[in-house]
């Protein structure tokens, strides 16, 4: 971890914070927020957000199955919330994404996007496994879910404002973003605790865990999902 005083949790949180900064500093995000993006770019962004999260309940169900005892209650709660069965959220989150698409006049794209989300999920299942056991696969999946919660808790309000202001999407259709802005602060905090609990329960060393976190996030996991043509910055810029 490079610094003996850092905990695994704080090191992971720093990774997440760097990823959030990378997202908000990337040209695509700034164009979106400033109103410089084209109508097609706003539409592509909305579609990519929907594609990235339409099947989140399935991923959460998978993670609940792998949850260590100390994290099981949190993950069960998150799953129920995604399904619209918890107190804070009376509608399934995929329905909020459908509202977003409809509010943006993209309701006709729903079927295709659901197909793409299914294909994304299928690929996770059929692709050769990179890791030797399910504990590493689960840590990668949990890392990604918590990283998105962390990012959304800090950025989704800005995204909602941008889409409302520059794309003219009515406020009710932006509930998926405003909900995550409010709720994911707590989710992200819990998620970091859950990540640490997962690592301890499954006997991963801190170095092993951080390597999987880094491999999962790579240079900018958020930009890759939300801006499909995102080009990573040059590695040469970081050379000595």
């Amino acid at each position: 971890m490079g610094n003996g005083h850092e905990t695994l949790r704080s090191t992971i949180e720093k990774h997440f914070a760097r990823q959030v900064e990378s997202l908000t500093m990337c040209a695509e995000f700034q164009a979106l927020e400033s109103g410089r993006a084209t109508p097609d770019q706003y539409d592509a962004f909305i579609e990519n957000v929907a594609r990235a999260h339409l099947r989140s309940p399935q991923l959460l169900a998978f993670l609940y199955a792998l949850a260590p005892p100390a994290a099981a209650a949190d993950l069960r709660h998150n799953l129920l919330e995604e399904l619209g069965l918890a107190a804070e959220s009376d509608r399934p989150h995929p329905d909020l994404l459908r509202d977003l698409l409809a509010g943006a006049g993209l309701g006709g794209r729903l079927e295709a996007l659901e197909g793409q989300s299914d294909a994304d999920l299928r690929r996770i299942v059929v692709d050769p496994l990179l890791y030797g056991t399910l504990r590493e696969v689960g840590l990668g999946a949990l890392t990604e879910i918590v990283a998105f919660e962390y990012m959304l808790s800090r950025v989704s309000g800005r995204i909602a404002r941008a889409l409302g202001t520059h794309r003219g999407i009515p406020a009710p259709a932006l509930e998926w973003f405003t909900h995550h802005s409010a709720v994911d602060v707590r989710h992200a905090e819990q998620g970091l605790d859950d990540l640490e609990a997962y690592v301890r329960y499954y006997d991963l060393t801190d170095d092993e865990a951080l390597t999987i976190v880094e491999l999962t996030l790579r240079e900018n996991v958020f930009a890759r999902r939300y801006f499909r043509d995102f080009v990573a910055p040059s590695a040469a810029e970081g050379r000595r």
């Binding site: 170095d207 390597t211 995102f230 590695a235």
Partner: protein
């Protein structure tokens, strides 16, 4: 069977993260894909990766050569029955490109497309021409350049995936520290190779290789720039680390000269660089007869098409010391086939058994990721 149409796609598929070495820095795939169609509507796909610093080709020269010379040389001609690679070699025109070593990426793209199309038409897998000698292929990982810290991070990720063979890019001021750090990160059991991409001069090569020998280096790839074989032979005599050639080896004549000079321990055969499967096989055979080891290399940013061809070749060669490629979506934001060709844990990947190259290319992805598309017909 006659070929009646072709489409050429110049791709720009972003990388998940940038990849660099001493000669270049890549952030997207710039492969050129060729789709051919025969008179029965059967399609086949091939791919070449232009590298100005290797074969002398660019995307533009590939588009031009394919449209102007290669496609007219095969269009409307009867494609021979592909019982062996000799017939295929005879079918494809031998071309030259002024100022280039050889326009091999262009040739490889067309060769693979014709092969894929003809085998699909016959309902045969490529394995019927390249019988596999092993049930799976085991791939190496490659550690990108950049800071030493980044190299170590990459090396740890490769260890987490379980890769058994790892190559690290060198050719910088901190080479010795870099190799030491990567060796520490991957542990003593994984094999470690270096790739200088021709960045060193003779004295620097001797000094670095002497200093890193203690880290257990299985081979160093392209320590010197492409040049006289005798210079490499002199280096080989001066150092204990086995030498591998990459940029120095583009043609069969290169291979013969390097072997004759006693300049190499390994050759890095790459399908795009060497001009296709037939030429690659010929070079590998030459090396094998001379007792020189073969690495089947790849192109950074290659799509599933070149990876699939590489998988077949790697499975079929009598012996491969190392195999690279099949990074798929570990590197590309999106690959072009329905099936994943990416290797899995420990770098292992299964054989491809479907007709032709054994993958199903999604044309819509090619079109969406293309910066240029050229339709070629029999009318020119």
């Amino acid at each position: 069977m006659k070929l009646v149409a072709a489409t050429v796609y110049a791709l720009r598929i972003p990388f998940v993260e940038s990849f660099s070495h001493s000669a270049t820095d890549r952030r997207w795939s710039d492969s050129v894909v060729v789709r051919v169609r025969d008179d029965a509507g059967t399609e086949g796909y091939g791919e070449g990766a232009p590298r100005p610093y290797v074969t002398g080709e660019t995307v533009e020269t590939m588009l031009d050569l394919l449209a102007r010379e290669l496609w007219p040389g095969v269009a409307e001609r009867e494609v021979p029955t592909l019982d062996d690679f000799g017939a295929l070699t005879a079918f494809l025109p031998e071309i030259r490109l002024a100022g280039a070593i050889a326009p091999h990426a262009s040739r490889a793209a067309l060769e693979l497309a014709v092969l894929d199309c003809a085998l699909r038409r016959a309902g045969r897998p490529l394995a019927s021409m390249l019988p596999p000698r092993r049930p799976r292929v085991i791939y190496s990982g490659v550690v990108t350049a950049g800071s030493v810290a980044r190299a170590v991070e990459h090396a740890r990720q490769m260890r987490a995936i379980g890769l058994q063979h790892i190559k690290v890019k060198v050719g910088f001021d901190d080479d010795v520290a870099r190799v030491a750090a990567v060796r520490e990160a991957i542990g003593p059991d994984a094999s470690l190779r270096l790739d200088a991409n021709g960045a060193w001069r003779f004295d620097r090569a001797v000094a670095v290789l002497a200093a890193v020998e203690r880290f257990g280096v299985a081979a160093v790839e392209q320590p010197l720039p492409r040049g006289p074989a005798e210079e490499l032979a002199r280096l080989r005599r001066a150092v204990a680390v086995p030498l591998m050639v990459d940029e120095s080896l583009v043609t069969r004549a290169d291979a013969a000269a390097l072997i004759e000079a006693g300049a190499v321990d390994f050759v890095n055969v790459r399908i795009s660089k060497c001009g296709g499967l037939a030429h690659s096989l010929a070079i590998a055979e030459l090396a094998g007869k001379a007792g020189v080891g073969v690495q089947l290399g790849s192109q950074v940013g290659e799509t599933a098409i070149l990876s699939a061809a590489g998988r077949h070749l790697a499975a079929a060669l009598p012996s491969t010391a190392f195999v690279e490629g099949s990074f798929g979506t570990l590197l590309l934001a999106e690959d072009v086939s329905v099936e994943s060709v990416r290797f899995g844990h420990r770098g292992e990947a299964p054989l491809l058994t479907g007709p032709g190259l054994g993958i199903c290319v999604v044309e819509e992805r090619l079109r969406r990721r293309a910066v240029a598309v050229r339709e070629l017909t029999t009318g020119g």
